[in-house]
């Protein structure tokens, strides 16, 4: 569905995307993971055929977006980072108008609108103005709108940023349904849990480059240990304690507020720490996540 080779985008001197390669297959949920400014959104815009690449090759649905933008866009659904719904139009009108942009007939749209309103769980808001919707509702409407042309690829740029936990879960549930129906998804996010939940395969991006690629489980296996022990000694004693702990696990990361010790068994490491005569203020054993993968790859945490 999507093939990128040496894909690059520059704005004057600034290099936003610095020669990346990846492929997305049909029916796959593909994620671009990275902090703000990693080049995710720029990559998305190039795939969405609304940004011309500076160099490299890009093929979407077998076509070159630089020369066949409108033809490609006819088969895409795009959910931008910032909702760009029409605030003065009603919920159903937003869907209707968007369908018309794609050249869809009025009759077809009549049924489609009801189907999408149901999908977005907005039955009661059908005739409400868009500006009166909550953040989560607007997001669901934007996703429903992107489905109006029954796209081959649905692209979501930071789909749940700024939503409360409950709204996020409702949204994930909707995206799962699409995945089950075989819609190809391309998602950018800086949330680990989101990437782990939704993506079959992902690339970790930083500073315009791809740092690693694989399924969430593969990446964790390759770049992290099974478990992580997090201990806090208070900011003044962290450095001191870290020196003594060093070497107890497979690897240690010292963050300003806590120390992470990677190992196969976190409880055992904690016992050893206590035996050294250290008493952490708090301790927590958890499974490794993509956050740890990112920390390992870039030396920085994902959400600053």
């Amino acid at each position: 569905m999507i093939v990128a080779k040496g894909l690059r985008k520059t704005y004057g001197e600034f290099v936003a995307v610095d020669g990346i390669d990846f492929q997305v297959k049909q029916g796959e949920a593909f994620g671009l993971l990275g902090p703000n400014g990693a080049g995710k959104s720029t990559t998305m815009r190039m795939i969405a055929s609304t940004s011309m690449r500076s160099a490299g090759e890009l093929e979407i649905l077998g076509k070159d977006p630089n020369t066949h933008g409108p033809e490609i866009r006819a088969h895409l659904g795009v959910v931008p980072q910032q909702d760009n719904l029409d605030r003065e139009l009603k919920v159903w009108e937003n869907l209707y108008i968007y369908g018309r942009y794609f050249g869809l007939g009025r009759k077809f749209m009549k049924n489609k609108i009801e189907e999408l309103i149901e999908f977005a769980q907005l039955e009661e808001k059908r005739n409400a103005k868009t500006e009166d919707l909550s953040g989560g509702m607007k997001r669901r409407l934007t996703i429903a709108r992107a489905l109006v042309n029954e796209p081959d690829i649905l692209m979501l740029d930071e789909p749940t940023t700024g939503l409360d936990p409950q709204a996020r879960h409702v949204l994930w549930d909707r995206l799962f349904r699409l995945k089950e129906q075989g819609v190809t998804l391309v998602i950018t996010t800086h949330y680990m849990d989101e990437a782990e939940q939704l993506c079959d395969r992902l690339v970790v991006m930083d500073k315009g480059r791809i740092m690693a690629e694989g399924s969430p489980a593969e990446l964790i296996k390759q770049y992290s240990s099974k478990e992580v022990l997090e201990v806090r000694f208070g900011s003044s004693q962290n450095q001191e304690a870290a020196k003594q702990i060093e070497g107890l696990g497979d690897r240690t990361e010292v963050l300003p507020d806590r120390i992470l010790i990677y190992s196969e068994n976190g409880e055992k490491i904690l016992e050893k720490i206590v035996k050294l005569g250290l008493s952490p203020i708090t301790s927590l054993v958890r499974r490794s996540s993509l956050e740890d993968v990112f920390l390992r790859l870039t030396g920085r945490s994902l959400v600053d």
Partner: protein, 270 residues
């Protein structure tokens, strides 16, 4: 529906879908639009056409201006002004809204629509608006006895044409605006107001000192007003000047649309 057929149709009629959207948005303000379309000419005709007009007519010994009563002289200028104002409403604010306020142009551009089609669609909608405004204005002017029934069709064409020409220039200018830091206030004070006052609207352009007449020469309003006066009450305009009037408006329209298309495309595909 067959997908390829749908895609082909969408690519072909994109501008009309944009216009359909703009007109749907207009209907949200239909009450206000109608009130202004009728209210504006009535206020102007009462205050200036009749008020100032009685003074002018009394002091010209019944000769009026250009050989006709003041209200007859004024009517074509007011008509052209109204059409220009209507087209401007449709090309300026919505453009800033689409690029900056709610970014709806970016949403449109992520469908198969192109920047060029968005420009064309806005122009179609601006035409509809100029068309409706001119029509109501003409009815009011006729009711006041300021124009004849037989001149109405041609006046209608000239006014709509003037609206489109100025609308295209506004669209091109607004497409470069990055944010609304007083752009519209500047346009209103330093472009629209002088154009309205110095385009031979209230008195013949030739009565102004020569160093101010150039404002009229570069103003779509003067070119359309002078043309409309020739149609409305037979103002004597040399043939070459009539051609200049039409050419000026045509060039404004074409240049405005071409510049806007170019800027829309580059701004949406950066």
């Amino acid at each position: 529906m067959d997908t390829e057929l749908r895609v082909a149709r969408g690519m072909r009629f994109g501008a009309w879908y944009v216009a359909e959207y703009r007109i749907r948005q207009m209907t949200k303000w239909l009450g206000a639009i109608i009130t202004v379309s009728f209210g504006n000419p009535i206020i102007y005709l009462l205050a200036i056409g009749i008020g100032v007009g009685s003074l002018v007519d009394a002091n010209t010994g019944g000769e009026g201006v250009n050989g006709v009563s003041y209200i007859t002289f004024l009517a074509p200028a007011l008509l052209a002004t109204a059409a220009i104002q209507a087209a401007m409403d449709e090309t300026s604010f919505p453009t800033l809204e689409g690029f900056v306020w709610d970014k709806s142009f970016f949403g449109m551009n992520s469908t198969q629509l192109t920047g060029g089609q968005i420009v064309d669609g806005i122009m179609i909608a601006a035409f509809v608006r100029a068309f409706l405004t001119s029509a109501t204005y003409l009815i009011v002017l006729w009711a006041f006895g300021a124009i004849s029934l037989s001149a109405m069709p041609l006046l209608f064409v000239v006014a709509s044409f003037a609206g489109m020409a100025f609308g295209a220039l506004m669209l091109a200018a607004t497409s470069f605006v990055k944010e609304d830091d007083g752009f519209f206030a500047i346009v209103a004070r330093f472009v629209v107001a002088p154009m309205f006052l110095f385009s031979g609207t209230f008195y013949p352009l030739e009565q102004m000192p020569i160093f101010l007449q150039w404002i009229g020469w570069i103003s779509p309003l003067w070119h359309s007003t002078n043309f409309a006066r020739a149609i409305s009450f037979g103002l004597e305009v040399p043939g070459w000047l009539m051609i200049v009037h039409v050419a000026f408006l045509a060039v404004s329209l074409v240049a405005g649309v071409l510049i806007a298309r170019r800027q829309f495309i580059s701004r949406l595909l950066k």
